[in-house]
Assembly symmetry: C2
Homo-oligomer: 156 residues x 2
DNA sequence: CACGTTTAAGTTGTGCACAATTGAACTGCG
DNA sequence: CGCAGTTCAATTGTGCACAACTTAAACGTG
């Protein structure tokens, strides 16, 4: 029997996102990280240091989510936050030695995830691109009023 | 410059899921529903009535999420919860007239979403299937220890 | 029948997500 | 300079998401 949500891509994405997070949870638990915290660390391992604004942009999250998240990571000793001298509005997030050290313990997480996804390289990249394109279509300003409806939009 | 998360499908799904939810928020706001609440209503509009267990299974959520969510929908007058007479453990969730009436006001939500996604029918179904397959691969028990690593699993 | 086990649902506590608000620091322009 | 307007970040409040725990009903086996 067909279930009511089976044909909904929006639900499929929602379920997939949670399933992938669930998959990583046991591994991240050993590092003392949640999934969003892990994403912050992934960015920091590459960048060493960047403003909160850029970090929030990279994660596509707002300050209301990122601020307390960074506070917890700072309390765990994985990063530091310091106001910039040249612009006191901006706060720079910087990796600590403890944060850098965690990288080695996390290095096999992506492999395990890839493995569990059971996709070959082509499938992986095709799906990645399709999902990224979807995000862009849907995030574009006025997305809800465009698409296959070329009727006059409410932009006088 | 390549961003650290750009090659991560897990992040792409997480971002896409949130972007699609954001897209629907203004429409659902007018109905007084959050996105998970809307999903519950979608199921109820099809099924009229079902146990909490089945609803949680359909949404792939646990009781800890679903119980308070149903409480709020009941307070809003959209559904009723009643213990079954033949099995006092089970609670049946049933659509009220108010809940049924909301269906008409929500009917153009899926169309608007589809439209904003800017996908043709084939792309939509291909992506839907790919995402569903991924969820299944990743949700399968022991997913993290299988895949392209046929090494002995820790199942003595 | 009694007793341990399983099952359905709810509760508690932590941590996201996000809207709305606040506040401080920078900017632009007359 | 003065000050409206913008920008960066944090706070507050609501509602998920989920682990861990609790409660109560049904079941199974001796």
């Amino acid at each position: 029997m067909p279930e009511p949500l089976d044909d909904k891509l929006c639900f499929a994405l929602y379920a997939a996102s949670r399933a992938v997070t669930q998959l990583q949870r046991p591994m991240l638990d050993e590092l003392g990280l949640t999934y969003p915290q892990y994403l912050v660390m992934v960015v920091l391992w590459e960048k060493r240091s960047l403003p909160v604004k850029d970090l929030a942009a990279a994660l596509q999250l707002d300050y209301g989510t990122v601020s307390p998240l960074l506070k917890r990571l700072e309390a765990a000793g994985l990063l530091r936050r310091e106001r910039r001298a040249d612009d006191e509005r901006s706060v720079l997030v910087a990796l600590t030695d403890g944060g850098a050290a965690l990288r080695a313990r996390a290095e096999d997480v992506p492999g395990a995830v890839l493995c569990a996804m059971d996709l070959d390289d082509d499938e992986y990249h095709a799906l990645l691109r399709a999902v990224q394109k979807l995000t862009e279509s849907v995030s574009a300003p006025g997305a809800a009023s465009r698409g296959r409806t070329p009727a006059a939009a409410a932009t006088p």
